[in-house]
Symmetry: C2
Subunit: 254 residues, 2 copies
């Protein structure tokens, strides 16, 4: 098991997600998938289909995190500007990738036109990401991985790159949801947090017409510390006469 | 009607959203609500419950956009660090706001404790945002508006600030969804885009076991240009023997 902390940022490119009209489902899938490899997603950005926005985000994030994964803007229409923008971010020309071109030619045959051909253009030095669903590949360059926006295609592309990404040490999580209100447990919780610096304890109150209470989320790379802190938190809830609403156990396989 | 372009960024603070375990519903609600006032949300970030991450994002975004709206991290537990972090971002002390304190005292009465009292601490110079659901207010300072993470509370806080935000000129949208595949229409679409520079045309292919096709999204502040471009796009689809799957009309009320 690696000792290293491996980090990632996700960049969701597209006006339709930003406007709130199309719900984003890619972020959650990517974050959960990377977590299984012990890769911490530390930032997500939704940005416009706009060259300067893409260049700014990609350059800022690739310097900050181990990996950057983008989704969106790699189709065959005039608004698909991700590849060209990333070439500019890396200050390299956008060139026709012969392997990508061969795949595209083979897929579209007599339907091949200039727009489909445009999908073979990638930043110089890029390597291919395979697309087992609809053939047309995408690419990565250095630590920036460019995935499709369409969830089904994004998923197969993510599956393709996953084995090549470095693994980090996994973070294990325990959730304790109860009807305890935050103010009742805030002080005890803060003491438990102080006692277990290796465990991060988040407190998320919920409040709707059906019920109110708090979900406590304990996370750690250290399973012993996590077990102890979880037991203490459970004891603390019971001391306040609350039981978890859902059974739980230390999730060591996640 | 204002001529101005008014922009905003949204910052979703919290490890639970970043991890993908809790789905984010706030972004879409805020983006759609601001769009109704003609405010363009140009960027969304999900960041950690972490002081340096909050300071970095808030300072970068408040310099770039008319407004920054944050959600999350304003409760009563040890992990609620948004107010303190924003005070640091603005380089002002975190002080007890007397109006907020009076509201909190009145709400909790004999249950008032140090943790509830902590919610009255805000950056010096901040003004209150009312909470019509559960009383405890939040705050804004300059162009940064700090909202609750809990969706029900976030919504009433957004309703409170909305009348005070500047209105921009509205963007109108038409969607045309058909079974046309992108490669068939890509060239015609690119010609329509070139003819109507004031209209932004997005093309979003879909592809699943049930159907495949493309949603074309036309947006503009100029309703005449939007009508013309939409008519041309519709004619183009018909020329390719496709009809929109859903009836549509120029959406001038949005």
């Amino acid at each position: 098991m690696s000792e290293k902390i491996i980090t990632a940022a996700i960049v969701i490119i597209g006006d339709e997600i930003l406007s709130g009209n199309t719900p984003d489902t890619n972020t959650s899938h990517i974050a959960k998938t990377l977590a299984q490899k012990g890769i911490d997603v530390l930032e997500v950005r939704f940005i416009q289909d706009e060259e300067s926005a893409i260049i700014f985000a990609v350059n800022e994030l690739r310097a900050k995190y181990t990996y950057v994964l983008t989704t969106g803007g790699i189709g065959a229409t005039h608004d698909d500007i991700t590849a060209a923008s990333i070439a500019k971010a890396f200050k390299v020309p956008l060139v026709k990738n012969p392997k990508a071109y061969a795949i595209i030619k083979n897929r579209y045959k007599e339907r091949l036109n200039a727009h489909y051909r445009s999908m073979a253009f990638m930043p110089e030095g890029a390597s291919l990401i395979a697309n087992s669903l609809s053939d047309v590949p995408s690419f990565y360059i250095n630590n920036v991985y460019v995935l499709a926006g369409m969830p089904s295609v994004m998923r197969v592309m993510l599956d393709d790159i996953l084995p090549t990404l470095k693994s980090g040490e996994k973070v294990y999580t325990n959730d304790l949801t109860s009807k305890a209100q935050e103010y009742v447990i805030a002080e005890s919780l803060s003491n438990i947090q102080a006692e277990f610096p290796k465990v991060s304890i988040g407190s998320y109150p919920f409040y709707d017409q059906h019920s109110k209470g708090t979900t406590l989320v304990l996370k750690s790379r250290d399973t012993d510390a996590l077990k102890l802190a979880t037991q203490k938190t459970l004891d603390m809830l019971r001391m306040h006469k609350h039981e978890p609403l859902v059974n739980f156990e230390i999730d060591i396989e996640r």
